[in-house]
């Protein structure tokens, strides 16, 4: 635990840490694959029928049954599944008749774009509001933040979405309506990343950029409001906890001004658990919000998965599940790394 120990042991420790991290991630991902694989076997959807349709003859059925490897033992099937997943082959969608990987590459950027703007809004507003509420605990500001947050947390998002469309789109015409982009602009930009704001900005299509922005701002604000409610609530309680600690008294005794006590001493400590809160909020936004995507006709992951589920398109469902699982694993990893960056106590032990 001491600081001295030489450069060599520091390097060794770093390598050991990295190896441990990779092993953990690999193991988690393997578990995820087992689960999705087993879901695929357990659901009462015949994978053969999904391929050949329900009018094929028995001989065709039998041939495809063998081709899909369904006659082999389960572990061999799992091995085949692994090989396919690692080459990016999730099978073909029975609805769109395209490779699942292509489908997800098409719908995921829409969700990614929406979720990212939403989490930025949610964090940028939620953290200062939570801090403010904690500092003014029990006073008017605290109550206002709490009520505002409670509404965001408990009002059904589709209702807020419809209301938002009615007010800001239909009446005030401040924003554009449902969809990601007006048809007029749809072919003005060549898709590169699939993130329309980024694509249009890179291609210098500023009219299109404005149009896309006015489409995305309302749903992103709504989702942002939702995560803001959660983030501000957690920030408030983390901050109250930190502000009651002895080191805050120490800082006051030293003559440190109040703003610095709040924003540097207390928030810096509260940031450690907050990282996880923000990461998990982001992850749940990336799953795609079915309701928001439906209300705003947003062609994202949530809509795609719901559609696939309703049509028993198992390949698509399993592919999507895998993607979401990978996002969760990835964001957890990221928040672990940030954790050790923010907290010196974790840095040394891990």
């Amino acid at each position: 635990m001491t600081a001295d120990g030489g450069r060599e042991s520091a390097l060794l420790r770093f390598l050991w840490k990295t190896a441990k991290l990779i092993a953990t991630v690999a193991l988690t991902f393997l578990g995820l694959l087992v689960v999705t694989f087993l879901i695929g076997r357990v659901v009462p959807v015949d994978p053969v029928l999904a391929v050949i349709g329900d009018r094929a003859s028995q001989s065709v059925y039998d041939r495809v049954y063998v081709e899909l490897g369904l006659d082999r033992p389960l572990y061999e099937q799992f091995w085949m599944y692994l090989q396919k997943v690692f080459t990016g082959d999730f099978g073909e969608s029975f609805l769109t008749k395209r490779a699942i990987a292509d489908d997800i590459a098409r719908v995921f950027p829409a969700t990614l774009e929406l979720a990212t703007i939403a989490i930025v809004i949610g964090t940028a507003l939620g953290i200062p509001m939570g801090v403010w509420a904690a500092v003014r605990q029990g006073r008017l500001a605290d109550q206002v933040v709490r009520v505002f947050g409670l509404i965001g947390y408990s009002a059904p998002i589709f209702w807020l979405g419809l209301l938002g469309l009615l007010v800001f789109y239909a009446r005030l015409q401040w924003v554009a309506g449902p969809g990601r982009i007006d048809i007029a602009y749809e072919y003005a930009i060549t898709p590169a990343t699939g993130l329309l704001l980024l694509d249009s900005a890179m291609q210098g299509q500023w009219d299109a950029f404005r149009n896309i922005f006015s489409h995305i701002i309302l749903p992103a604000s709504l989702l942002g409001y939702f995560s803001m409610a959660y983030i501000s609530r957690m920030t408030r309680s983390f901050m109250l906890n930190e502000l009651a600690q002895e080191y805050i008294t120490t800082a006051r005794v030293k003559g440190v001004p109040e703003w610095r006590i709040i924003w540097v001493h207390a928030l810096r400590n509260a940031a450690v658990p907050l990282v996880t809160v923000v990461a998990l909020s982001y992850a749940s936004l990336l799953e795609g919000s079915v309701l928001t995507e439906t209300v705003f006709a947003w062609p994202g992951l949530g809509q795609y998965l719901t559609n696939s589920l309703q049509n028993a398109d198992m390949n698509a469902v399993l592919g999507g599940t895998l993607v979401i699982g990978a996002i969760f694993v990835g964001l957890n990893l990221l928040s672990d790394l940030l954790y050790s960056l923010l907290d010196p106590r974790v840095r040394r032990q891990a």
Binding site: A3, Y247, T250, A251, K254, G255, R268, N269, P344
Partner: protein
């Protein structure tokens, strides 16, 4: 000599569900550039007295006094700006446990430099040199390493030395030490006390030493206040502790272990409801 600190009729109340509860009930004393001990059991109000002098009565508690004067400044209803000028620069406090009283995500160096920046208005570079010198003054052998270390990387004794360094680096006139050694091992206690004693003496500052340890206080201070249930029940010269009159003080003295003779059954503190009146 005009006193450094005058406290008259200090009262601290906390609202509770069954009405306000007065935890300090009319404490008065004066302090020059000397070492004053405040002794008492848990809940006797000694720590709250110390905090009230620094204006740090935790809300929703309220502190009132007839006189609360620090070197000519009236501390009752002092403005935040006044407090910022006083705290750190002219009065400071060493707290009980370095595990909780140091910010876990800031290096010792940054916390020391911060004390100098806001307590003494120094620039960063000056502050660094003075901070390192101060760490040496509290007998830390490798100041550079401790300067870069985080609190969890130090032992309790080291942490408390760093805390003392942080509180004395601005050379305040008044230091309140609130149980500065109770969280430390007995062997380390003596060392830390010796360091504190030397610094306080050489710098000629006023010290309020708050403790529950009667013998420690009497060996370390010039004068002792004994508190019981929010009141000062007795004030003594440390050397006259044997002549204590109040039954509570006598009771405390009787509980101290003696080398000679057996003490069976072990003496217990007898309490009289009348002392709290």
């Amino acid at each position: 000599m005009t006193p450094l600190l005058t406290v008259e009729d200090l009262r601290i109340t906390f609202p509770t569900r069954s009405g306000p509860s007065e935890v300090v009930r009319g404490v008065s004393f004066t302090l020059g550039r000397e070492r004053l001990g405040i002794v008492g059991e848990s809940g006797s109000g000694k720590s709250q007295t110390g905090r009230a002098i620094l204006g740090l009565t935790p809300p929703p508690g309220k502190a009132t006094a007839k006189v609360l004067d620090f070197d000519g400044t009236d501390l009752r209803d002092a403005s935040p700006a006044t407090w910022r000028k006083l705290r750190g620069a002219r009065m400071s406090m060493v707290m009980q446990d370095p595990k909780f009283s140091l910010n876990p995500v800031m290096t010792i160096g940054r916390q020391l430099v911060e004390a100098l920046k806001f307590g003494a208005g120094e620039t960063r570079r000056q502050a660094r040199d003075r901070a390192l010198a101060m760490l040496e003054a509290v007998q830390i052998r490798d100041p550079e390493r401790v300067f870069r270390a985080y609190p969890h990387e130090l032992s309790g004794g080291m942490g408390q030395r760093a805390m003392i360094a942080m509180m004395l680096v601005t050379e305040p006139d008044l230091l309140i030490a609130d149980e500065p050694t109770s969280a430390l091992d007995v062997t380390v206690q003596v060392e830390v006390l010796r360091i504190l004693d030397r610094l306080v003496t050489t710098r000629g500052m006023g010290l309020i030493f708050i403790s529950h340890d009667l013998r420690l206080v009497s060996s370390f201070c010039d004068r002792v206040l004994v508190m019981y249930a929010g009141r000062v029940v007795e004030e003594l010269k440390a050397s006259d502790l044997d002549q204590a009159q109040h039954p509570y003080t006598r009771g405390l003295m009787n509980c101290l272990p003696k080398i000679e003779g057996s003490q069976r059954p072990l003496p217990t503190l007898e309490r009289d409801a009348a002392w709290a009146k």
